[in-house]
Subunit: 283 residues, 2 copies
């Protein structure tokens, strides 16, 4: 375990090497589709998924929308899920896609990253409001030894609507967002990886090389593998700064692996291990 | 009271005329700066603010970050605040700036707008992920008779970083976001106002005329009056489609009006009424 105060990038790099995995386990619980052994309890479902697939993963990524939908009990389930993941030695990347200005940004950062809040290890944030809206998140993250993942080039078709627009001065909107990410982060001394990372969809691997050029020190959070059509084999550019330079996130392909046969926990464990080995072989 | 199933724009227009106000009361409670009579209780503070300033307002706008920061008790305070505002005849615009894709977007929309969720009347959302990320919010809003306010051109200096970028094809990023807002909404039959509105900062009134050209049916949510430097007198273009075409939101200038003298409730009431009269005189 790295000492307290270690920057996020360095913590992550140590953990990726120790656990030999770059896989992030997405937790998007749907009360209508929980594992049978959870008996209808969202937190129990998440615990079971973590117990099954966690050993092949370096982090969990709870989709906050799925918990928030459930109101107060959902918030409690999120707290319990985070505690269980941490006890299992996993980092917690809160997928909340928050974004706001000054005091409100600080409040969100405190909610997710600060002592007395959810104390996640990282938070996803949106850059539409500009650098001054991300700065309070970065300050709070650094103070907590935590990280950010800024939405840069997402995995959905609608990413083309604003992110891919060509600018009069050259480049695209998402490349400008990448520039903000690069200037906002401070590379960790041991790993060279910054605490400000980027969400770069695995569904458009043609952007990965350019994203890596623009953000040499950023950890890439790579959604879109599996159900959305992305392939692990296309992600090699993400790992240029080291094995912790890319985190491959998967939710449905692990949690619902048993739909192709087998018992939920065993199927999830096997699929997570398959993804782990495929990504590890690249870097 | 308009009949159930009335679209958001039509509901809003009826309420603005009935209450003779376009003012939205921002609720950004800070546990360190609550009104003395609240005795340290966030929900009690919000109730007192609503009781004081609500009569001059058409809606409240809880800043969700401020409640989320407080964890489970904060979520409960948000529920109580929403119930109190509704009982006072006010609409509730949840300022959460959410944004995500497909299922996650639906979950956020359900959390804030659907029966069994917080049942707010409207939600602020971010457009960075594109039109397909906003569509699930719009579908959920229509089903609930609720509205959306999409971040288009925000009130902070960082708005220039991405929103103001000039595009190779002409126009700016925020003008493209405005185009998405315009195509996503459906004007109400009675008011001509759509359920998909736009956040347009009052700090850059030079953009208001252009924003109105691009979004003829959108309700503009106008932050930035007072503490951020915007002036009510500059907002006239927002009201072109009618008095409910612009909603002037203010938080600090109302809640902390007593810092210039007087008792908190009386000072808040007077400041809200001053803003109400200034905006009403424009349209």
């Amino acid at each position: 375990v790295p000492p307290a105060g270690t920057p996020f990038g360095d913590r992550l790099a140590v953990l990726v090497e120790a656990r030999e995995t770059q896989i992030v386990l997405g937790l998007d619980p749907d009360p209508a589709k929980l594992w049978p052994q959870a008996d209808g309890d969202v937190a129990a479902h998440c615990r079971a998924v973590i117990d099954a697939a966690g050993p092949a993963c370096v982090a969990v990524k709870p989709q906050v929308a799925c918990f928030e939908r459930l109101g107060v009990p959902g918030w409690q389930a999120l707290e319990q899920t985070i505690a269980h993941a941490r006890a299992a030695g996993l980092l917690v990347l809160a997928d909340a896609k928050r974004g706001d200005i000054d005091i409100s940004a600080r409040r969100y950062a405190e909610a997710f990253l600060a002592p007395g809040g959810l104390e996640a290890d990282a938070l996803t944030v949106s850059p539409y409001l500009g650098a001054d809206s991300l700065e309070p998140f970065a300050v709070a993250a650094r103070a907590a030894g935590a990280g950010l993942f800024v939405l840069v080039r997402t995995s959905n078709p609608g990413a083309a609507d604003l992110q891919d627009l060509e600018l009069a001065g050259g480049g695209t909107v998402w490349e400008r967002a990448a520039g903000i990410v690069d200037s906002l982060g401070e590379p960790g001394a041991a790993s060279g990886l910054s605490e400000v990372g980027a969400v770069v969809g695995a569904t458009a691997p043609e952007h990965l090389v350019r994203a890596r050029e623009l953000m040499g020190h950023a950890v890439f959070l790579l959604p879109g593998i599996g159900a959305q059509g992305g392939r692990v084999e296309d992600l090699a550019p993400a790992f240029a700064p080291g094995r912790a330079g890319g985190l491959v996130t998967s939710s449905r392909s692990i949690v619902f692996a048993h739909e192709k046969g087998g018992e939920p926990a065993a199927a999830a464990r096997a699929e997570a291990e398959r993804l782990r080995a495929a990504a590890w072989a690249l870097a």
